[in-house]
Assembly symmetry: C2
Homo-oligomer: 128 residues x 2
Amino acid sequence: MPSADHIRRVAERYGELLTAHDADGVASLYAEEAIVEDPAGNAPLVGKSEILAFYRGAIERARPERVAVTGPVRILADGMTAAVPLQSRSTRDGRLVAVDIIDVFTFDDGGLITSMRAYWGPENVNPA
Amino acid sequence: MPSADHIRRVAERYGELLTAHDADGVASLYAEEAIVEDPAGNAPLVGKSEILAFYRGAIERARPERVAVTGPVRILADGMTAAVPLQSRSTRDGRLVAVDIIDVFTFDDGGLITSMRAYWGPENVNPA
């Protein structure tokens, strides 16, 4: 199983790569057959090419200024699942907004992300 | 669907009732057939009497000093699911410890909790 340090590094890296507008970098954190639901409840994206297209679109639309981990990464005892509080700051319609998100990630033994579900909604989009 | 304000109030109340060692109060936030996984991945507790017994035991063991919401409650657009960052401070083996948790709750139309999954592990239990 991946170490807790590895999981925390992946969470930090996820934010850094989004901040750098590096969709390929973000996609490289995922396993080949990974699943993404963002927000949770949306139709799941399956596989790396759908996931890459999703992050390309999201970065293109939101042009995030800063995406960062905002609190302790919660890691289950099995070491394969983590819940990560994040904030994404970006400009929407010319206004700086902050979106508070909690992402739940699962990992494979190699430390790649096998799934991500993002918990956030309209209540979590606020002026920054 | 329950309002965002209701969901935030339930999250705050959940912490207050645990702080008050009021297991019956906590159980009263749940629907009759609710499911609890604490931590996530554990065998689910099903129904209010199992849930009440679980909280009685947890309060008896940990005697929490303070359980509180530590950041924005993330609420999905459907208004039926929320992810809540919490910290529980309690005494274990004579030492004050803080446990950082993220609870994912679902709700019914009446605003009762229908499920709770708690994300935390040994990495999240630290000296307070």
